[in-house]
Symmetry: C2
Subunit: 238 residues, 2 copies
Amino acid sequence: MSPTATDPSSPERAGAAAGLTERQNEILEFIRQSLRESGYPPTRDDIAIRFGFRSKNAAQDHLKALARHGCIEIIPGDARGIRLLRDADEALSHQFELPLIGRIAAGSPVTAAANIDTWLRIDPELFHPRADFLHRVAGHSMKEANILDGDLVGIHAQADADNGQIVAAVLPHPKTGDDEITLKRYFRRGRKVILQPENSAPAYRPIEIDLAAGGEGSQEQAPFRIAGIYAGLIRSGG
Amino acid sequence: MSPTATDPSSPERAGAAAGLTERQNEILEFIRQSLRESGYPPTRDDIAIRFGFRSKNAAQDHLKALARHGCIEIIPGDARGIRLLRDADEALSHQFELPLIGRIAAGSPVTAAANIDTWLRIDPELFHPRADFLHRVAGHSMKEANILDGDLVGIHAQADADNGQIVAAVLPHPKTGDDEITLKRYFRRGRKVILQPENSAPAYRPIEIDLAAGGEGSQEQAPFRIAGIYAGLIRSGG
DNA sequence: AGGGATACTGTACAAAAAAGCAGCCCTGTA
DNA sequence: TACAGGGCTGCTTTTTTGTACAGTATCCCT
């Protein structure tokens, strides 16, 4: 058991907390499992038995390390006094939550952690197709599709769309240059993409993009990309 | 402390498990609270301190009683070895869920267990005011308020409403006589209540109710009541 | 080479917690 | 009136747990 790789710089598994060793992640995962299955945290002994430690102090050391990293909190003197902290709890708690995406840091994937404003407790499966993130609508350009200013729209992440679907398009803002999410109806005719608002007021004009000019699939800065397709919305207040 | 009423036949509080005494329900609620706030169950001592028992055996006795009633499971020998069983666990798991209410059994409160079709994972706090239940909209009568057929509306339970608010009204269906939930804009002028659809098509007529005729506050079957006010909606699919 | 972290073994002790026994006071019921 | 059950006090005993201290070994970085 001793020759286990313990290189702190080894790549972490997906879903594992950052900055932890493999062993520490295993311990953390065991705590989660214990909470799920028995409803209360493990003792030092439970951990030692599970991992084959001959001394429960090995478990204690690991718990201290996890506490130092801010993954758990140890309540001194309490039997099973282990509390999962926010970050460590994420994998568990985000099961029925959706990230709210606002501005997009230039060049980053839409759902990158840096772009997440907050998490909201909505089951992704309530949307069709399943939503991967939410975006707050600004403006009235989709009014006639019954999508209003302030609505939270559920977006199913995918890179392309069928003609006529409502998409969340990522476009650089004409003034700031920052990437922004816009909801529009998508049409493609040959090399041209048309992003069509659903508001017949004259102020709302379709956006036309010529893919030939360094567009889709090009290595240059793409003038636009599809973050996903509209999958539903949630509206708050009367 | 001893002269506390302990009549096992006393009426149970709303949300409390059936067949339990008041004291037992308090203990159960404390266990839930402990799980929510600290993340692990209480010890016998925790319970004794909370309720002012001089002997932790009082707590032990209560736990045994709860176990006998199938509300909890005691894992022998384990510190904090208390597990909430399914029924008892509901209050906890529904923390971020909302019941979907369809048909209303005649005369029953809207959110009675019998009227709940299913639970959906949406944080009630996402609506304003906070939603207490959801209802699926049938028909297009509120189309011009941007509430469409098939939308799930969040309803904040309250018995009255201001003029002009959108309410979930409970009305007997003209044919079946079953109570049904309808979304309409509410107006009251003296003794008359007007439930106004938001659809200018001629097929949609306002409903007028004369409260003088055995209506609101009367002992006879009320012709209508307000289940709550509209607090937002969730729409699925493009 | 040395300091520091991770990852353990082993021992010891005190506090925390479970669990049993005996008994008291009520109240509703047979 | 006897009896059962809920609701408690008090006390004892035995586990279960947390936690500190002393070491060993490996690996990384300076």
